[in-house]
């Protein structure tokens, strides 16, 4: 009898922890999904706006490139959360002998880590959905980092956050989040502006039809490249988070240099499905709101984005595809003499970017506190239900002024995305 009771208690304990793990995995895949549709516009907004691709074809192409890109991420960085939160210490090797001097290990208990990750993910998703509702392109990576930072500060205090790294490389909130966010849109805008300016000098005098038809193909090629790079980089982040959660609960070895295949498959499908859904509200803002673009500008923008993203990853300079894409599109407006740049729209975006870390962090912190008050299992369930509720509410609000493939290219003046947005959402609730 005694034996039976003990094993039943063990069973309950195990399933409680497993339940939290399952909720973390599902929430991570949900974040990956929002990451997909939030960023469709980064690659495809210009091709959709210029008519180089039909809207549905563009999102389908981008989804396929994201799916392929996600499967290319073989070397997943388990330390992705480490960029901002002290969670995981990778194995240290003696450079001379290659011997492991300190094995990979977590810096906190598995339960504690799960609750920080869950709070961070929910903060990221909520901010992604709110900015989508407002038609604001904002960085999904920053939303995730913001949520994690908020949860980590609430849990472990100011010191739980990796603010500046250890000085040996670009690291921490400053090195991996803040500095790239300031620099990358400016670099992208300069490159795209320069490209646009020279292109229009070269093609001056040839017929409009010839240039539109020619650059159509250049646009499709460069936009596909951006989508592929996005799939490789961004799906990898969620794969890292899920694998970290598996390590924290003892379901995977911290020393393994691989990740479970089902994690890769699930993340690839989630980001591709999100991309295919298409964040039409954001696509519209990027393609029609910032500047009116033609095919040559579209190619200049995507080539600039692809180059900045690839060069940065080569140099270990972490950046957000959203910041780069927005900078590039703005640059094509600046580089073309006589083109109108809507600075009001750009200003709204910058405000959104500045709010991303604190707002996602606030939600992440609140979520962690709920888990702290209610206990891990009950807290995780309540947090998850709150997330479902908020997501459902924001989806409902989006129906009032739906943006889709049918009206994504309508003239900006009658902006369906801005006019119908409830003002209390535009100003309150997040600051």
């Amino acid at each position: 009898m005694w034996r039976w009771r003990r094993s039943a208690v063990t069973l309950v304990v195990v399933s409680a922890e497993t339940l939290v793990l399952v909720l973390v995995v599902v929430t991570a895949l949900g974040f990956d999904f929002t990451n997909g549709f939030h960023d469709t516009g980064n690659a495809m907004a210009t091709s959709i706006a210029t008519g180089a691709l039909k809207p549905k074809v563009a999102v389908a192409l981008s989804a396929v490139m994201n799916l392929i890109g996600a499967f290319l991420s073989v070397a997943v960085a388990l330390t992705v959360t480490n960029a901002v939160v002290k969670t995981f210490s990778a194995a240290v090797k003696d450079p001379a002998t290659g011997q492991v001097t300190a094995p990979a290990h977590l810096t906190m208990g598995g339960d504690a880590l799960l609750m920080i990750v869950l709070g961070g993910l929910i903060g990221g998703i909520v901010w992604n959905l709110l900015t989508w509702l407002l038609g604001l392109p904002s960085s999904s990576s920053h939303a995730l980092f913001g949520g994690l930072i908020g949860a980590a500060i609430t849990a472990n205090g100011w010191d739980g956050v990796n603010w500046v790294g250890d000085g040996t490389k670009l690291d921490g909130v400053v090195g991996k989040v803040l500095l790239p966010a300031v620099a990358s849109p400016i670099v992208a805008a300069l490159v795209a502006g320069l490209g646009t300016w020279v292109i229009f000098k070269i093609i001056a005098g040839i017929s409009h039809r010839t240039s539109e038809e020619g650059f159509r193909w250049g646009q499709i090629g460069t936009a596909s490249l951006v989508s592929l790079a996005h799939g490789t980089n961004d799906a990898q982040k969620t794969m890292g988070v899920i694998t970290l959660a598996l390590i924290a609960t003892g379901h995977w070895s911290a020393d393994a240099s691989t990740i479970p295949f089902w994690v890769k498959l699930a993340c690839a499908v989630a980001i591709a499905a999100g991309t295919y859904l298409g964040g039409w509200r954001i696509i519209r803002t990027l393609g029609k709101g910032l500047v009116e673009i033609e095919s040559p500008q579209g190619m200049a923008a995507e080539a600039s984005s692809a180059a900045v993203i690839l060069a940065s990853s080569h140099l270990g300079f972490a950046l957000s595809t959203t910041h780069v894409a927005t900078g590039s599109i703005l640059g094509t407006g600046l580089g073309r003499p006589g083109a109108e740049v809507r600075w009001g729209v750009a200003g709204r975006m910058v405000v959104g970017w500045l709010l991303t870390l604190p707002a996602a962090g606030f939600v992440g912190g609140v979520m962690w506190s709920i888990g702290h008050v209610l206990g891990n299992t009950g807290g995780a369930i309540v947090e998850f239900l709150i997330l479902i509720g908020l997501a459902g509410y924001m989806f409902q609000r989006s129906r009032h002024n739906a943006v889709g493939a049918h009206n994504v290219n309508d003239d900006w003046s009658g902006m369906p995305a801005a006019s119908g947005v409830p003002s209390e959402l535009a100003t309150g609730g997040v600051a």
Binding site: L72, A183, T210
Partner: protein
């Protein structure tokens, strides 16, 4: 507090990285569409047709040949970009000896 000096180092590393990113991006990100534009221009020259003002023009085979060459350069760089992403996903990167890339372990 060591945080201050790590912050200064972050600024320094970022400054170095930004210049390199800018340089590489100008060459690839602005250079590629410019080569493409030259290709479009050559193609228009090669196929003749009408100028922007509507005047008929004869075609020139040299223009088409030049256009194909320029588009080939663009395709090569795009293919390199894809190759770079594939290799990067496997934790490696490319090193160039002349025009041909070689896979090496990531530093």
């Amino acid at each position: 507090m060591s945080g201050g000096s790590a912050f200064v180092k972050d600024l320094h590393y970022a400054g170095t990285a930004i210049w390199q990113v800018l340089l590489a991006s100008v060459v690839l990100g602005a250079g590629l569409p410019v080569i493409f534009a030259l290709g479009v221009r050559s193609f228009a020259w090669g196929s003749g047709g009408q100028s922007a003002e509507g005047a008929p023009r004869p075609g020139n085979p040299a223009g088409k040949a030049l256009a194909i060459l320029l588009f080939a350069v663009v395709l090569y760089v795009l293919a390199l970009g894809i190759y770079y992403i594939v290799v990067g996903g496997h934790g490696k990167e490319l090193e160039f000896h002349g025009l041909w890339p070689e896979q090496v372990a990531k530093k």
